[in-house]
Structures are given as structure tokens and as C-alpha cells.
Symmetry: D2
Subunit: 321 residues, 4 copies
């Protein structure tokens, strides 16, 4: 349920409503808007009796929220959310390119690619310092060393940094070094990590699990928001289907689907979806011109140099935008 | 295997090669190109001994075809195929819009919609006279009566006509009345119908079955081509996945996948994939600007009028472009 | 809607009800039961006004049918259907084994395998005379010649024969030679063929398409039943999923799902689902002891002999039970 | 690569081989067998030069391991692994039933159900103290309080306890109280948690993610094994497909697939796969008699009592075996 305050409601009236909500056994999350504040009631499992709320000073009306997710729903926040990171705005309609290598391997590799992607128009540099690998024997990333390299890339190029956190300890470090914290597809159901990301100081880029419905994805975003971090960017990266012509099947319709029910910005990762360098341009051409608010891509230097990460351009997972 | 003839090879030399191929127990299909003719050997299950062919007059070389599909493969026909229907060219790079109602219901309904879609820029009118319905009790289309209405729509508006054939007898009729014969997704594996379409006089629009791999789809196109009708247009219309936010999941990556291995033109049907009127524009925006060579959509009159087809705008399967 | 007649209703009363249903613009299909007859109304698209029926002589009550499929629904026929073919009963609870090669290749091959499968306890011999092949260049079956071999197998071994019909002309032949007509997974949506099978004289074994929901499968069975042939046996053979450890994923839960909503017998084909000879026994062990009423398997002679069909034991699609 | 020691190799020879492996930059994991020890080399990304190993005292031969997973592969451990927990053996061929409620709600609820499931023949009691919920607002389990109740259930009934750990802190607690640590499907890709489970003192029951291939699942088991805990039990619980008749599609063929390539025991959870109480018995009948080594089910008291967990028998996720 959403408690909508009058335009001229005071801060102390908002506070009184939140206290009453807590007295009822729930939690009240204020959602300030351009004109007025609304307070979202979370924590109820059934219908809420609003009689004690409607009589409070400054309350205009109450609105039932029909979805299981509340804070990320358009019902509680009809206007699309814009997330400001450095000097860029994600969700404002202008595509933002995020690009970079699969993993950070060395300062030289990172800087070389970063200069290339900057020249191509990217505003955000991506590159993994902590890599969630299918095999325990694969290169797991440079760790904090990689984060320091990323920070250096930002200093030298002005590009903003997005990089993945894979558990509680890496999240703390990523929050310190990066501009955007990535939660990967494999951790979309890792609720413990999502909760911790809800306490982070940076925006969170939440990738869709390759088998998650839109509803499940938004519930994972709700985990982050419900802990206090409302700066969530969704990222569609392809789903797992019978189709074997690409590694994943990019679910383009996720974009209008999400936009219809949520106010969060959504971006697209065509390189993960395709798993092939030569499909990124056809896929991106359509995508970046249409619905999503950002486009995300792995990049590598050309010509390829041997790399310990398995992400050199000779492997199908590496792509040049 | 492909037998490539010299630039100055004569018709009788081509004929001699075909006769030798037949003597070997296979079939030779001539594929004339801008510069020279190649002859595709079909019907072999294993490697072909080309020693008897290389010695023939006019033969330049032989090329092994690695795919199971041959005539529709880029290996045998490196240049993209353009299909000319009336005054339009499908596959030339300029998007062609095909639009119209699910089913033809009456002359008035068809003409009203046809005038609307023409005004919107469509060149081809679609509408079903024979409808493959999940339920035996649903309206199955007006049959030949519907085809006569479609012919009238062409006469009055100048739009070209594409409509579905569902079995051998309807295919004969559709071939007579329409400009393009549609084979629907549910009949993509109906090899008997595909073979017959290979003898039709009109181009065939072959929809991808909702569970077909790219390979299986091209093999179905090969069925049509191998019977003599090389005018095949592929149409991606969404695949069946776990994802429940849309009726089907549009597999955008099918477009570069097909283009890479086949010379056939490919178009996209975002309305079937989405199953929702309000998703067609976001999906089409991206699509029509990028890879496919045509865009296909169901349209209906506004405001909706009661209809016996279950395809009125109030149902999710009806869409206005 | 189902019109339930009184226990002592006469044939002329049943006839009068059917006439009244026809007068209302629908069709009435009598469904005789052990105690009394019910008449299923088909052809209505919305609710039926039963006031004119309830007043007729011999009518006990009317019952609304909630599913789109009617004749194959448990609502109209609560008792499970048993189908008698020769001296076997399919659907009675005792497993019936159907086994044989992918394709009939020669009299010797067919007889050799038939004797083996008979010794193993099979009651029905399967083998294709008409093969629906992904490639137009693959062996398409021996045609009527194959059917004659199958008839000879029956004469010599006493095994009953099930074989596939792929289009209208082969269906006519299969109906003449075989004991059970198979409609394959790829033709489950071929409504023209299903309708014709509804006029055949033999029971129809209807395989589930690899991407069909239970609802769609039952609607295809309804196509056959609504044309007059109520002898339909369903066959689960695996669905297409992301999982790549087997060719298809056997959907074991389809058995209780179908049994709950339909009275038709259901059998299982573990060999197609697995696509691997060594998985058939583990899969069958569980299956044949539990829910399905029959088990279906491809068999081949051992040791394998070269075959033109691509179904010799060296290929993954061939299995010895 | 596997270094196979001679039957009479001494401990110090084994140690010398491990030291040489470490000197080469890899890690050597000894795998003692009935007759002799083998040492698995992990950490290599390419082929290993075995010339320095073959010359060492006590080395019989080296064997290349072709799979990415090594310790859990049949190649390195041809005999099936049996895991002993209390007085039961998992993987010995005799089915072991594990049953209990979705979540532990109270001592009374847990004990009531535990007595029921014990009477039905179950040896292991399941019930969640830490629940990974799609919604942040759902009941998240009683936490350590729930673990204490489970310990009491063991004391009173003699049933062994399996319960889920969802993050590092709950894993520590579960390791202390339970007999088997469950890693749920949503955490199958949570490599940080898997690594920690590799240091736990109790066997780990690793559920297959609903979108994981067999290869990915075994790689997750390898994460646990490679940290030192070789006591891993795999649990198939249904995959996500287009099929909507059950919540998930039980992938029965995963059992022979896993058994073929891995020595780990595998059990089946038909209740999660079906999501319907009435399907568990048909599914289990087949399953428990055939391949898997254990069967897992949710149970609830009858008649249902209101519960805060959303797992009362009135919801589709609750099942009585």
C-alpha cells in the first residue's frame, strides 16, 4: 500500500505516518516526488487496514499496490527513474555505452582498451576484477589489485567504472573503488548479496539471471531497494532457451515488459547474449536506437594478445563493439 | 558438392555435367549467377567422387558444401537473394512492411484495414483465408471466399497479397490468388506441404516453427528449393521459452545467424512474437532499422468491432502497428 | 456442454436431443457409457442456452464443460478409455511394449528385429515406411513396399503393427495395412492430417510435438475425435529444452497431467526422448512400472549392419531395448 | 591429469609426487582407492607435461582427464561414491527417503510432521530454517532458532537432519546443527558459498539450478570437492522449460547422464519439480524404483493449519508424500 501525502504535507507529518505504519507492524519507506511525498508500506503479507492512516494529518489518500514488488513498481513511482553517475544520466533516453574487457588482466591491457572504447564514445568502462567462473580452476580475477587498476583507468581517461561483486567481501571493495556495482546473472538469486548491495553507497547494475522471469528479476531489485539503495539499473543479457545459434537468446521484449511495470532504467548487453563478436553490431544497431537506455559490451584490443583469462578475442565470449 | 563452371561455359556443357551427375545417381541443380553457372549436387548421403566431373568440358572446379542444406546455403550462392514481387524487392535492404488482420472476415473489414495499412506505408497486405486453429471448433477462415476478397483488396488498393496455405488443396488455391504463399510455423515440419510449395508459381514465406533451430528451419527451406522453387523468404516470429512476459520470445539473433549461413532474405514478425499490441512499436523500432528486410504485423480497425475470429483488438493476439 | 440422458432414455429420445442441438446451430456427439448416454455439444463458441434441451423427454441434466477440448476431456467421459487392438488392450493398466526399428529397410531386417522384440515381450511392432525427415535428401522410407513388409511381419510373428502416416495419401495406405496409425510429433499441428485421421478406421497414436503444451496436445486429439475417431492413444516422447544431456527432455509429469484432465490412454517413448541407447533401460525401468500404459522403443539388430536409413545402431537415434 | 600410483607405493612417494606437481605450478589432490592411490592434478589450464612425474618412484602411469571437472569425474574415480551419514548410506542402491515441511515453523509443527514421516519410512528429516525467498517481504525462516528445533527433532525421533544454508553465516550454523548441508538451486552458481561448503565438516546436498546443464552442475560440485569436501550428493529437482503443466519439468534423464560421467550419488526431488501434491506419488513410484538413490519430498501435517510460511497444504508448493 502507498500512502500519498498532500502537496503541502510537512516533514513531521510524514514522520508521523511512518511511525503509525511501524506501530501497525510494517515498515514505511518514504518516496519523495517532484510535487509530494508518498510512503510505501512494506512487510505486510496481506491487505492493510488503512483506517488509522487516512485520519492522520497531511494524508491525501492510500493506493493499493497489486504487485509483490512495491518499491520498484510503477504503481508506487509512476515516473521513470534516472540514475546520475558522475556526469552521465542513465535512464534519460540518451543511450550510454559501457564497454571493456571481460577481465582486467594488467594495467597496460586495461588502459589500452579503455582508450579505445573512450574513442568509440563509451562513457563507462567495464572489466572484471572478481570473476564468477564455472570452473574453480579458471582465472578468478586480480581481486583488489584489479580494482586499483580500474581506479587508475578512471583517473587517466575520465571513464566511469562498473565492475562485478561476487560476494560480501568483494562487494565492500567494489563499493569503495567503482562507480557502479555489478551483480552478475549467477548471483541474481543470491539474496544475501542483494541485501548487502542495498546498503552500498553506489548504484547497482543488476543482471537478469539466464532463467529468471521478469517478476523474479524485479523481486531481486526489490531486495536491494528494500534495504535502502534505490539506485538500481536492470540489465538484460539473454536467456537460456533450446535455440543453439547463439549462446543465449536476447529477450528484447523484456525492455517494454519492464518499462511497463517498473520505473527502473534498463540496459542491454548484446555481447553476452550473442557470445559472438560479429553479432554485436547487428544486435546493437536495433537496440541502441530503440528501447534500452544503455548498451553494454565487452571489448578487446585488436590484434588479440595472449591472455590468461580465456577472454581473448579468439574465444567466442570476446567481442569488439 | 558444387560444380563451378567456367565463365564461358556453354549451355550444352552445363547439360553434360548434369547428365554425368545423374549417371552417378544424384541430381544436379543449376544455379545461374551473374558471371557463371554453378551446379549443386543434391541427393548424396556421403562424399562425392568428383574425378569424373573435373574432366568434363567447361568445368572450372568443384567445391565441397559442408552443411546439410545446400541450395539455400551461402556456400553455393554467396550473394544475398532478392525476391521481386510486383514492384517490390524483398531482401534488397529497404524494409518492406506487410500488415493486415489475423483473418479475412468480410470485404468491408478487409478493405477498411487495407486502406489504413496502405496509408501507413505497407506494401503487402496479409490476412488469413485458411486459418490453422488450435481448436477444431474455432472459425477456420472463409476459404476461397476469403481469397476472392483478398484479390479484390489488391485490385482496389494496389497492395500485394500474402496469405497462408495449410494443406495441399488450400495451397493450390492460394497459389492462384495470392502474390506470396505463407507456410505457417505449425506447418514448418509438414514436409509434404513444403514439397508441394516447391512446385508453386509464387514465392513462399516460410515462418520458423516456435521450436525449430536455425538448421531445421533452413532444411525446411531446402525442401521447397529442392523441388524447384528457389523463391523462399524466411520469417522469424518468436520461439517458445520459459519466459512468460510475452507469448513468444522474439529471437533477434536469428537474423545475423541466418544471414551468415544462407542467402535467403529474412523478415521479422514482432506482433506474433509479442502477442501484445503495445509491444509492437518498441520491438519494431529496433528491428526495422536494423537487420531484417521486412517487418510483418497484424493490424485491426480501430475501434474494434465484434468479430467471429477471436482476432478482434480486444484479444491479445491482435495488434495495431 | 454435456447433455446427460436418464438411465432409461430411449434411442429416439437421444436422437431428438441431437436434432434439437443441430437446430440450435451446433453439433451433438453421443457418448454412450455403461449406464447411460451423454451427448456432447460441440461447435459453440460461447455459453449454450440449455432451456430448450432440459424440457426434452429423457434428459436428466446438463453439465458445462470448462475446457476447450470436450470429447477427450474427463468432464465428458470420467472413466479412462481402453483401446482394444487385436488381442491387446491399451489403457487397462498393464504395460504394452511397442518396439522395432526406426525404418523398415528390408523384409529380412524387419523380420529379424521382429522376432527379437517378440521374444523380449513386445506385443506391437513399430517401423517406419514413410519417414518425415529433416533433410529432403535423406532416405524417406520404402513407402507402400514397407507397409507390405510390415503386413508380412504381422502374419509371421503375430505382432500388431503401428507405423507413421505423414500426409493424406500415406494415411490412406497406413489405415489399410497397419493396426495403429501413428501421427508423428512434427505433424501434431497438421490439422488437415488430424481431421483425415478422424475418418480412419484404425486407432491413432498421437505423439506430442516437442514444443506442445498439454492443452495443445489434447486439442490435436480433439481434432481427431471431433471427426468421429475416438480411438486416440497419446504418446509422450520428450520436449525441447535448454538441457543438452539428452536429445529431448522426457516430460514424465505429462502422464499424471494428462490422466487428470483426459480419459485417453497415454504411453511413453523413452528412446526418442533420450536419443541414446544406454538411457532407455534406466528410463523405462521407472516408467513402465509406474504411470504410462505402454512403452515404446526403437530396436535394432545386433550386431549392426550398414543401413541406408541413418538409423543403424551406430547413430544416436537407434536404441536396443 | 591423474597420476596413478603403484599398489605398493608408500606415503612418502605420494608426497613426493604432490610436491613435484606443486613445483610445476599446479595442485595435487590425493584420491585414495581400495587398491591404490591416484593423485589428481588441478589448476592447469592446458595440457600438462608428465615427463617429470613418470620418472618418480612409485608412479605407475598418468591418465589424461578430458572433462573440465576432475575430482567428481568417473575418470578419476571409477567406482560410485557412497556417503555415510549416521547409520544410512547414500548411493548404495537402496532408496533413502528425505521428507519434511518447507520451513520449520515451530517445535510442535516440526515434531508432528517428523513423527509422520518417520512412520512412512523416511530416514532423513528436511525443513528450512533459512529460506531463500523470491520476495524480501516473505517469511525468511526462524534462523538459528529453527536449527535448534531441528536438533530436537533428531534427538526425539532419531531422524537425520538436512537443511539449507543460504550464505556464509548460515552455512557455519547449519554445519554445526545439521547432518547434511543443503545448497539450494538458486545458490548453485554462488561460488563463494560453494567454496565455503568445501571446508564444512558435513556432506553437502547440492541441488541443480533450474537452468543448469549437467556440466555446470558438476562444475559446482567440483568447487566443493576442490576445497576438500568430497562428500557431495547431487539432487535433481526439475528444470525450467516452456511446459506449464507443472512448476518445473523433472529431468529424469539427468540421472543416467550424471551416473555416466560422475561417481557422486544423485537423488531426486519430485515434489519441487511437480509443485503439486497429487503428482508426487506417480512421479515417485517410477523414480524410487529405478535410478536415483534417494527421494526427497516436502510433507505437511493433515489437516492443514494456517502457517506464516506460505507452505501450508493449501498452496501448490506443499505436498504430502
Amino acid at each position: 500500500m502507498l500512502v500519498v501525502m498532500k502537496n503541502d504535507a510537512t516533514q513531521s507529518q510524514v514522520k508521523a505516518v511512518i511511525q503509525e505504519i511501524e506501530r501497525m507492524g510494517y515498515r514505511g519507506v518514504p518516496m519523495p516526488g517532484a510535487q509530494r511525498t508518498a510512503i510505501c508500506i512494506v512487510g505486510n503479507t496481506g491487505p492493510v487496514d488503512d483506517s488509522g492512516l487516512l485520519v492522520l494529518e497531511g494524508v491525501k489518500e492510500t493506493v493499493r499496490v497489486t504487485k509483490q514488488y512495491k518499491l520498484v513498481s510503477r504503481e508506487t513511482h509512476p515516473q521513470p527513474t534516472t540514475i546520475t553517475v558522475g556526469d552521465i544520466k542513465i535512464g534519460e533516453g540518451k543511450p550510454v555505452i559501457m564497454a571493456g574487457p571481460c577481465a582486467v588482466e594488467s594495467e597496460e591491457q586495461a588502459l589500452t582498451i579503455a582508450r579505445l572504447v573512450k574513442k568509440s564514445g563509451a562513457k563507462v568502462f567495464r572489466g572484471g576484477a572478481f570473476k564468477p567462473r564455472t570452473s574453480p580452476y579458471s582465472f578468478q580475477g586480480l581481486g583488489e589489485e584489479g580494482l586499483k587498476i580500474l581506479a587508475k583507468v578512471r583517473d587517466e581517461t575520465g571513464l566511469l567504472i562498473v565492475t562485478e561483486a561476487t560476494d560480501n567481501s568483494s562487494l565492500e571493495l567494489v563499493d569503495r573503488y567503482a562507480d557502479i556495482i555489478q551483480i552478475g546473472a549467477r548471483n541474481m538469486h543470491n539474496y544475501s548479496l542483494l541485501r548487502q548491495a542495498g546498503h552500498a553507497s553506489k548504484p547497482v547494475l543488476l543482471k537478469r539471471s539466464f532463467a529468471a522471469t521478469i517478476e523474479e528479476w524485479l523481486m531481486s531489485a526489490e531486495y536491494i531497494s528494500s534495504e535502502g539503495n534505490s539506485q538500481v539499473i536492470l540489465c538484460e543479457r539473454g536467456i537460456r532457451t533450446f535455440s543453439d545459434n547463439t549462446r543465449n537468446t536476447l529477450d528484447l521484449s523484456a525492455i517494454p515488459s519492464v518499462k511497463q511495470v517498473s520505473h527502473l532504467p534498463i540496459i542491454v548487453d548484446p555481447s553476452h547474449a550473442a557470445g559472438r563478436r560479429d553479432y554485436v553490431i547487428p544486435l546493437s544497431k536495433g537496440l541502441s536506437l530503440s528501447a534500452p537506455t544503455a548498451c553494454w559490451s565487452r571489448c578487446t584490443t585488436t590484434p588479440p594478445t595472449p591472455s590468461p583469462t580465456g577472454c581473448s578475442p579468439s574465444t567466442p565470449s570476446s567481442l569488439t563493439n
